[in-house]
Symmetry: D2
Amino acid sequence: MSFSYSRTIHFPDTDAAGVVFFTNYLAIAHEAYEEALSASGINLRTFFADTGSVTPIVKSEAEYLRPLYCGDKLRVTVTPTSLTPHSYEIRHELFRLGTAEKLVGRIRTEHICISPANRERLALPTALAAWVSAS
Amino acid sequence: MSFSYSRTIHFPDTDAAGVVFFTNYLAIAHEAYEEALSASGINLRTFFADTGSVTPIVKSEAEYLRPLYCGDKLRVTVTPTSLTPHSYEIRHELFRLGTAEKLVGRIRTEHICISPANRERLALPTALAAWVSAS
Amino acid sequence: MSFSYSRTIHFPDTDAAGVVFFTNYLAIAHEAYEEALSASGINLRTFFADTGSVTPIVKSEAEYLRPLYCGDKLRVTVTPTSLTPHSYEIRHELFRLGTAEKLVGRIRTEHICISPANRERLALPTALAAWVSAS
Amino acid sequence: MSFSYSRTIHFPDTDAAGVVFFTNYLAIAHEAYEEALSASGINLRTFFADTGSVTPIVKSEAEYLRPLYCGDKLRVTVTPTSLTPHSYEIRHELFRLGTAEKLVGRIRTEHICISPANRERLALPTALAAWVSAS
């Protein structure tokens, strides 16, 4: 079962077209990813700092299906899948809550674990690998 | 009694110094303001669009007392006070939760209600004036 | 020939990993798109507001090839291609300047022209269609 | 004579009210500060990372005098003044270019040099002190 994250759209998420700026769909998906990691016991403060290995996003794909407005309530799913011993993908769906829940966006990110020193590929840290395989 | 808003620090809030970028203390305070308005029954989607009157922020003051890191949990207070028939200020305190709650920032914003057409001052809309005086 | 946009990486572009946050590659590509439109004579203030038609981004794909640091200088290309009478794609390449220019990212966005009232597809406005076909 | 920085307003700077979000006046002022430091020979990539001392912003004050729209061209001044051996302030004025240049914002930030390890006050690094006194 996917992890789900609840998020309200705020004014700084929007742009002069009156709706959420497209890159903020991706930033909100990243928040959901952080909450999923945190719920699995991973410490965010050290995870995203350089601690022997880093797992940058190397690819993203997004579909923006419906506009989002200030005050809208979202549910964002987080579904990781292992790709190789040093990489994984995460799929997200963003749903706008209301009388009928509507799919408003789909996002896929690809993450590779590397050494920050020489940028060579590394196996995922144990806690991260456990989260990927358990989700 | 002040309205209180709960917020977790996310990765997009931070900068290369490893902590929350100073302008994001203000953006987080604005989120708290939005939640306070929403809790009082004001519709955010129309409030922040041009609907006969707008209430831009004309001044801000902020004290950044302690750094904030990814994963930190905050409580943000929202205390509005009427200044004139067409303006109000909001005071915010940001507390980092933990074994002992710590004050990490203080913010004050000043808001003036104007006509978007000619930028002349207007009396606050009824629902907004009610929120300011009731808080 | 592609339009080229010059951009310096600033501190608010970065995150606690010390490098540019992935969604900001896309935001920087959007800035380049704006500059290309502006150079072709399109007024940005009215273009991105609702003026009978809007052209939201409906898809994005991005490859993040190398990290970017505060102070880095970029050159960003903008290459639009018509897809249908009411849609186009833009391809961007981001190069970091230096003793040797390095490709640091590739971005593709897909734009569809619609009516903001009923979200039905519309032909591109003349100036926009001219920019797409001339670029 | 003050350092001056040129900046175009881009779409990600704006919000659903159709104008630049208030915190982005401060972020743009910070960009101007970075450009001034860079012009004086300071390396931004290492300056904002932890290198024995950090100089966080501890206070900000801002006046938002006029709205800014996508495509607007700005000139931003940067005027530092020493406060104590371990602190300085920077004053910024933001002008919108056009047939007549208009003052659109005034910003003041206060910076204190501290040790990242124990947060005790430190004397400014030599290059930074030289920039403050020469500007």
